[in-house]
Symmetry: D2
Subunit: 334 residues, 4 copies
């Protein structure tokens, strides 16, 4: 059983069905009826008018958002362990044409107003430094922690006070929604967010993510930037259809609920081994090399995460009965 990454999981059957159902001639790029339905559909979900662009990857979503919020001579505050800093090969720098990421601290890869402000206060605000233009957080974080609506709002208030745009990398936004029980609105624009990378691929999608703009003005130039980056796919309806299918019947929530529940099972088994509270679908464990080897020998695959640490990620399609054996094996480590 593999617990490497939710990236490696198969797609939800509804997504495959939606793709097949979209398989008729329509208009190219985003002129088709599926793409045109996105704004309305996501607006309903977010309880406010939003503008939505599909893109084929979370990196594209994140970096188009950052490019909309920050000029080349500006900077973006994010966590030292943010995906945009460590896992996108400089895509933020590519899309923003060289903006700088300013790295802040925080337990479990979570920023707080205090840690973000510490970075902001260290800047000089003269022309010799790239002035902060945006704040970017990840919810759920790279360590599977979630921000509550109150925490989002506190960071949103800081962003507003400091005149920063506010972006949320929601590669695992669904897991955060399920975990907090909060509404998508409360986790985003009501807390001051301007743009959300709303992830579907880790949650049962195939190759469509939604870039959601709460600040509509940001969408216009992004249409050009998306094209210019090669992300305006010519048969866009196969992406739009995926997103719509995931929203139908709240499949996106069901998938995330399953993955979070699986992680909770593992967390319970792991007890004192846990490196971070388990709030979404990721579990970080303290394990010796021998223990890791024994788990692997028993057929469980996962990534080492530094020395003596392991990362287990539960995917949308892993059921309790799939996970139980690993939970038992972890518990049996003592």
């Amino acid at each position: 059983m593999r617990f490497f990454s939710d990236n490696a999981a198969p797609v939800h059957p509804a997504v495959l069905r939606a793709i097949a159902a979209a398989d008729s001639l329509d208009t190219a790029y985003d002129g088709d009826r599926w793409s045109k339905a996105l704004d309305e559909r996501f607006s309903a979900l977010f309880e406010t008018a939003v503008r939505v662009l599909w893109v084929p990857s979370g990196t594209a979503a994140n970096c188009l958002a950052l490019a909309a919020l920050c000029p080349p001579h500006g900077s973006v505050v994010c966590h030292r362990e943010a995906h945009i800093q460590n896992d996108e090969c400089g895509a933020p720098e590519f899309y923003t044409h060289g903006a700088k990421l300013l790295l802040a601290e925080g337990e479990g890869a979570k920023l707080t107003p205090a840690t973000a402000a510490a970075v902001l206060d260290r800047q000089r605000y003269d022309v010799h430094q790239q002035r902060p233009h945006a704040l970017s957080i990840t919810n759920a974080t790279e360590y599977g922690r979630v921000y509550t609506p109150a925490e989002v709002a506190a960071l949103g208030a800081l962003a507003k006070e400091r005149k920063l745009g506010f972006h949320i990398d929601g590669a695992r936004f669904a897991n955060a929604v399920v975990s907090t029980g909060a509404s998508p609105a409360d986790l985003t624009w009501r807390g001051g967010a301007d743009a959300l990378s709303f992830g579907f691929v880790k949650n049962g999608g195939m190759n469509a993510e939604a870039l959601v703009f709460f600040d509509h003005a940001l969408a216009d130039a992004t249409l050009y930037r998306r094209k210019r980056a090669g992300h305006l796919l010519s048969k866009g309806r196969y992406l739009a259809a995926q997103l719509l299918a995931m929203l139908d019947d709240d499949i996106w929530l069901a998938c995330a609920r399953g993955a979070n529940a699986g992680a909770a099972l593992l967390a319970q088994a792991a007890g004192a081994r846990l490196l971070h509270p388990v709030e979404a679908n990721e579990v970080f464990l303290r394990v010796t090399a021998d223990e890791a080897a024994s788990l692997r020998a028993a057929g469980f695959d996962f990534y080492d995460w530094g020395v003596g640490e392991a990362r287990l990620v539960v995917s949308w399609n892993q059921r309790a009965e799939d996970i139980r054996p690993l939970a038992d094996a972890i518990a049996a480590l003592g």
Copy 2:
């Protein structure tokens, strides 16, 4: 019946089947077995060892190739009507970080050694101008013309002589292969090409194109650039599987054969109205506004292409019986 664009057509059933068949857990990004099979599979097709990267759009393929061939302070010779110049919103400039396209002339959007050399000879080759580093052609061209192996080789020889990399935008490469009856090898590396954007999406694919490197050294940095551009999709197997499926049983050739044949039917009907010889799946016609209106009134959709001109594109899935009515209607215009 719509003749707008092969971009708008549905996908080949084999592609849908391949996607469904790839729907099991595997490794993320391009570590899966489908992605890993590409080099060998395309090497067999091209009769030489090649390196292949999937990307979700032709723009990404083209511009990653150009970035591999041309530094920011260099320039690329292409046709004045090339897709990279007119239809990618500056993606070449984005990916190359500001290289300049030098625009050459040529009937039917085809470059010749003479027209390319004319541009090259006009440059000054001092530090005040961006030195030419690459040559890029489109086969089939934006006007549905094809380059023969001899024509490719003549341009390849020029490129070699002038120390230029040589890229082929093959968004409709399949149509050129079918049209010329030449082998993929003869239309590319045997004629000196370093990189090919091998298009599948216009030819029955969904969202996977193949970037083929004949010069292997170009592939290494491109792996980073693809990631950095957000084109290393996390579930890459769904792209790789499409490409493999299209190669199986020569589906890519069958699709192109069908589209070219349909265009030939229209060409026959159009006779003296043709603006360009029809060699692939595109037909450019002289039509008055009234004639265009009458065709549309009869249920045929297509793009105007300047004043008094129309473009008709035949897709892989349009059969002779689908096309006959339009051919008849064109013939009936007199």
Copy 3:
């Protein structure tokens, strides 16, 4: 005697004196009293409040202006023979992060509303093309032609109508002012210009050009871009002092007057050999290779400008008696 370029001439004595006079300790960068005096001084000259930044080269001035007026996904209309297109090694693309130059026609490297509109009308204004954001002209042009206030205003009106920023490359602005007898204001903001690269180096300066913003909002981000490009020199007072010295006693006008007068002498001698009317300090001649050789044998240096053509540039410090021998030699060619 050398007629290669006004770039190669020595500097005006007042510039050397000003540099020596600025040679005391003051604040670094642009915090010194010379730099701080620029806005007021140029505002007086332009009869309106302007913001001025010194930069050490015309390329820097031009491209900072373009970056202020055009986003990476936009385009700039300029003449096919503009310096920004042919002589800056892609600096516009570097500074704008990949905007595209759209090349327009026009006698003597002069744009007209008609030739600029022809380019604008050819664009598609969809996301597949870089939307025009700016218009850039050169006054005096690369062929020594000048725009009158009325001509500037006609282009300014077009720019306004099409919502384009309007930049003037004034590497030889002084020569245009002298030639037209118009005020700096009439040749710029009264005609709709947003930014002017006001050249001093070709006109007796050493290494300081003035980037003048009529639209003040453009200056703010430019301060960051200047720094980021390495053009915020640490001892800026030596640049600012040059500019102030050139304005003192209208030295900039005297220098340009001298150069224009010298070119007029040559023009008179050249008669029917002239390729362009001589309106500033450049003279383009029809000469055979033998004739060119004979002039060179007589001690006159200049550039060939294509086959059978020569360019002669008169510098600020070349007096009538310096030029007379060349005029006579040209006349003697018959």
Copy 4:
């Protein structure tokens, strides 16, 4: 008396004389005889064949060097407090088109092989991260510390082992040469350096720095990049002449010797207040706000450097008798 910055000092009389002496017509850009003399002159100084380009700022020198050493998808290891990270408004990101600076630790802004290796070892070396391509150090550092030849060589060995280019920001290289008594060769290429930003402006120059390439292959593309960045000034001889003048009679060493001696005087007075050993021309002191105020009241100007800390920089032209009063005032603080 001002101790803000060596950037604010006047220029050495020999520089003014050299500029005046260069004030005759010659070839534009870098075709003049002063520019052409640079390679030979600096080669003699460095005891090896080097290629040298003048540029008008240290930021330009640094970032052209980094662009030569690191691709956009790469990264550069430097100290957390390096000038390139904190004081150039993202110029490294601009010139490299988005490379990332990886920040290492080290006392007094000095890297050690251990602190640099710690950063290098933390990287993952897969396509999801920007692979390290270069190492950049500052000698003397931002805190006035110097690297000895042995320390440079140790870092050079690390760079070689990890296949990194090695750049030295020598904005105060002269101060390091004087401080260590080492030869320019021992402090650069003999220790493995590929490129040096050799600063003159802080040391009595006006607006010319030397970018020295020990790896000649790096110079070729840099010629294009310099032009493209607007740093190929048209009257380059006024820059080249400054550099040559500073090398004549070892003026550059005399200037640095004076500044270092002045700093040593202040260091002696400061005693236990020193935050860093004083090895070049900068002095960092612990002072209370009251103490700082009293020094300022006595006519001494300087920058606060964080809370309770002050930075004093001695310039080339401040003589012992100029500095003594400040030394006495510091000593008198007790």
